[in-house]
Amino acid sequence: MNTEVKLHPSTELLNQFVQGELATGNSVVVAAHMELCTSCCVKAKELQALAVSSWVDPDSALQSDQSGEVDYSDMVAGIVKSAQIKSEAIEALAEVGIDVLNHSIKLPKVLAKAASTGLNWKKVAGGISEAQLFLDNETVCEFIYMAPGCQVPVHTHLGSESTLVLDGSFEDELGEYKVSDFIIRDAQHNHQPRSKEGCLCFAVLDSPLQFTEGLARLMNPINRYKFKKATSRVA
């Protein structure tokens, strides 16, 4: 556990996470951060306890709009015929590592599971590679690898982007980010990430990047196309 994490999900985001309100991609990136961050685990536990007490509070705003009494006896009768589970099946989770530079990075369990079907790396631009994971229809999720010394073109986001640093570090105009840091960037930020030592991240985008400078702008329609394609794969 890394206890010197500088950047964390906001309380609001953690609260949405424990309440099950986030899209899968966002849930996965928050869960992956929590595997690396004790303080967020503690905080999420407290938030969940609050969520549970408001859930069971008879005066809570969260009330059933179900009118009248429903007879559930058939449902109960069906359920109690099922066998009970006496011990938790321990699923042997394949360890998924990602080889970058001269070492292998062990992924947080939730990411290892999500990536267990295999990663398809593509070189994008000067020293950057990405491997997309298809988790839901609302986000684009990808591992991003920045080779040492490389730089992403200046861009902003139409929606928000949550990035979790898994190895190495990168910096932009606003600071330097290390392993376990959870960074949120949205339309207000026009930024240009670069990495001296190389960096592996997992990023979840709510909508595509918008490049704002030079020739990279030519990629904007392509980025949008990519996003559309990625989010409509199953639908």
């Binding site: 309440q19 099950g20 309100e21 899968t24 849930s27 996965v28 869960a31 969940q48 306890a49 969520a51 549970v52 007490s53 859930w55 069971v56 969260l62 009330q63 059933s64 709009d65 179900q66 559930y72 449902m75 109960v76 359920i79 109690v80 099922s82 066998a83 009970q84 589970i85 006496k86 011990s87 938790e88 321990i90 369990k109 939730v110 599971k113 999500a114 267990s116 079907t117 994971l133 298809f134 988790l135 839901d136 229809n137 199953v234 639908a235």
Partner: protein
């Protein structure tokens, strides 16, 4: 038949719970339906330890509407919210023996199951890939290593008296569980029923207790 109520810290977590001591080996251990003071935890333990249908019915009455409300909030779909009652309560029934008192309230446990089933239901409905499920995102902090539990506590060279001397260093709940299994030679189910704790709690205490003994003895 039940004998009496006892206020005691049987769970060893510092919380005094009103529990009813239910004698074993009878088919009439159902908790009284009219009794509104029976805690959610006691009901859940009765469901897990003795498949108590009456206790399950009471849990159903207490939680069905709350699960429906949670389903409405997350899915905004009445049909799905109704399906969630079925999915979540089925899960409560199936997993009741795994409930671990040391890791939180019955309400919190049922909330977790309901939220997770809702999440999976929605993913299925939106036809999203099943490479990931709610239990990967919100893992039950089980950390179970069942193979450890039935191993011999130590090699032959270790004196039994030595183990006994270490016994006192276990917490009271852990000692009670280790005693039931290794000294009285009861099965997990019997011991859980005797101690009035969920099977899941018994297993986790046994695991921790045995690990501590091993550590003290210096095996591993």
């Amino acid at each position: 038949m039940y004998r009496n109520y006892a206020k005691q810290d049987v769970f060893g977590n510092g919380v005094e719970l009103t529990v009813r001591l239910v004698s074993m080996n009878t088919s009439t251990t159902s908790l009284d339906a009219e009794d509104s003071v029976v805690s959610d935890e006691s009901l859940l333990i009765a469901v897990g330890n003795s498949q108590d249908i009456n206790a399950f019915n009471q849990l159903f009455e207490r939680f069905a509407k709350k699960i429906f409300a949670l389903g409405m909030k997350l899915t905004r779909n009445e049909q799905l919210a109704n399906d969630l009652i079925q999915e979540a309560m089925l899960n409560v029934w199936q997993k009741a023996p795994l409930y671990d008192l040391d890791k939180g309230s019955a309400k919190g446990w049922i909330f977790t199951l309901s939220r997770n089933r809702c999440f999976d239901m929605l993913r299925k409905q939106k036809r999203q890939p099943n490479c990931i499920s709610a239990d990967d995102i919100w893992p039950l902090e089980s950390g179970a290593e069942p193979s450890l539990v039935h191993d011999d506590i130590a090699g032959q060279e270790v004196e039994l008296s030595l183990i006994e001397s270490y016994f006192d260093q276990l917490s009271e709940p852990q000692r009670a569980v280790v005693e039931q299994i290794y000294i009285k030679d009861r099965t997990h189910e019997e011991a859980a029923a005797y101690l009035q704790i969920p099977l899941g709690t018994l297993k986790s205490r046994l695991r921790l207790g045995v690990a501590k003994l091993r550590n003290l003895i210096g095996v591993d």
